[in-house]
Symmetry: C4
């Protein structure tokens, strides 16, 4: 049971993650050095490329990436964020091929008002996460924050809704996932749009 991920594969993943990060940073969703992105490179055992910690997310290069295992520990590359463990857990739990973690003002503001979860219904934009635009309530779970990634992962696992490829971490930000970096991007944009609508509707 071995995986053979070449430096080339890792750099290719790094280039994709750098481009996606720059995009989210341009929206103001990764201020400071916040947030991190990942993509699954192997399943058995699990291997993810995760953006390196401590860098400006608008200035990543293809090399600012770390290969981690299913526990979020570095296999190759530099220092991963502690949050790499949660990326790996989301990938294992949901089968997602890519995970986005961003710090958006709307997610924290709306999560603060709705600590029991944010309910969406009758919005066409829900189709962007594969849900019907009519008559069905879709809940975006809100979980309490923690610095212990196992605790946070347990909360995410307990709270997550199959209809919703995202969770708000209270006082923190958004985790969103999809089959690929592009689908994870689109899911992130859709969820953030729904949250911005909540803010505008007040």
């Amino acid at each position: 049971m071995s995986v053979d991920i070449s430096d080339f594969d890792l750099a290719e993943a790094g280039a994709v993650l750098a481009a996606e990060s720059a995009r989210f940073a341009s929206f103001g969703w990764m201020r400071g050095t916040s947030g991190n992105l990942s993509v699954v490179l192997a399943r058995d055992p699990l291997r993810l490329a995760v953006t390196a910690s401590g860098h400006d997310k608008g200035e990543l290069t293809a090399r600012d990436v770390v290969l981690v295992d299913g526990a979020g520990a570095a296999v190759a590359g530099g220092r991963p964020s502690a949050e790499a463990e949660l990326h790996a857990r989301v990938a294992a739990l949901t089968g997602a091929g890519a995970v986005v973690h961003v710090h958006t003002v709307a997610s924290v503001a709306v999560g603060h008002r709705s600590p029991e979860g944010i309910v969406f219904r009758d919005v066409e934009m829900l189709k962007g996460i594969g849900q019907p635009a009519h008559d069905v309530e879709v809940t975006l779970p809100v979980i309490a924050n923690s610095q212990d990634m196992t605790v946070l992962g347990d909360r995410l696992e307990a709270a997550r809704e199959p209809r919703m490829p995202a969770v708000v971490v209270a006082g923190h930000g958004l985790y969103v996932w999809g089959q690929s970096p592009r689908q994870a991007r689109h899911h992130t944009e859709v969820v953030e749009w729904l949250l911005e609508l909540e803010l505008a509707r007040r």
Copy 2:
């Protein structure tokens, strides 16, 4: 009664729609893969170029376009959005040469507060849709959403105001039209500006 639209004409239309889409996407009005744009290429019978479904609207190329007939069915190119039918109906109904469909937060937020329609009056910006800046009420209709494009088209036909080249679809977004892609763009910008003013005026 035949129309002869060359691949070249279609690609040219695709290039224009890709540029217009990238512009609207940069404003955050086409998050995820939402929205679609069209331009009329022939009138008798009706033929429109419509942006292809499922793509990121900030990353379209000249080839990401579908030729559809007056019922929104594909004549050439890939898979059109189901909403192509509504584009065709708007073009037939209004004589417009171009139709813009975007998902803006302001249109959904204001439409939610004013389900009977949004009344504008005494705003200079109304001149941007050919209306007087003084003394005349201009209503932006709000229609209920539907996944059945015939139902949605019937609602649009019943509700539309001759003074207003746009309709809000509740919980969904905006349809706007004009003689050309550029005029449709300007009408879209004007209507969205009016909606953002409503939000700011609260």
Copy 3:
């Protein structure tokens, strides 16, 4: 008493106005084809270069400019906006070398709440229009809109405050002026910042 303004001078002014327009358009202050900019080219008699009417303000070229006289009538170039008359009047009245007219949401929203004028005090940003940051009230006048540029000019002349190089036209937008296009830009940014602060302070 003749003025000799070469095509070259006019094109140079057009290039400056196109760049300034593109900047304001990127901020969303010239949606549709709204707004216009001018720069004084001669004083005796008065000659201004004014942006041409009906164009997208993010896509002007150096040739999209009209030379007008002190009444706003075209001397050379295409069709000026009717508002060119007001630009000329502002230049004559204030001695300004450049005039900016933009349609910002904040100016219309705040003008609607404060039809008697908007009072600023104790804000450092006032120094950006040459006013003290402490203890002095500075009023941004709000005048009623009109399509008659002579009426609008009379209102502007009656209402304007020597301390404030700007006027809000209710339901319409902002007129701002300065010695040069760059200073008019900075005055515009300062006044708009003050208006956005008013919106945020609510």
Copy 4:
């Protein structure tokens, strides 16, 4: 006790400050010609490169920089802003290697509501300024504005919180510092994000 800072060193610092300024200007945080940035070039005696006064902060070149001493007086280059004195004082007081002063709408709006200081707690983003994300209150001080930089510096010195590398000047804007221009940038982004969250939470 002499310092030998070459023209080359100063130009290099100027290039960094120009790039950082352009970044902040693109966010709308340096409207008009407001704000200024500095970087420490020597400690004994103190020498800082400060952006030149009166320029558009989105258009600085590597030469638009002034070398100042610990009192903010020019050693080389053009005219420094009066605020250079405060930059020097912050650098001396905190040991910071770089200081950012920007005029953000959120800092003035939130400072107006919370003149006794703005308290943050239980927000992950606090980690971006080296603080814990849980259980600890971190206060962003708000000090009264003054045109006398000695008075303003005394207020900053009296009010500053060791946990917070930033101060709001009421009716004015933000001062933020860090070890390097990049860290000062990240601290600025984090503090502004926290202020925008306060606005959104209302």
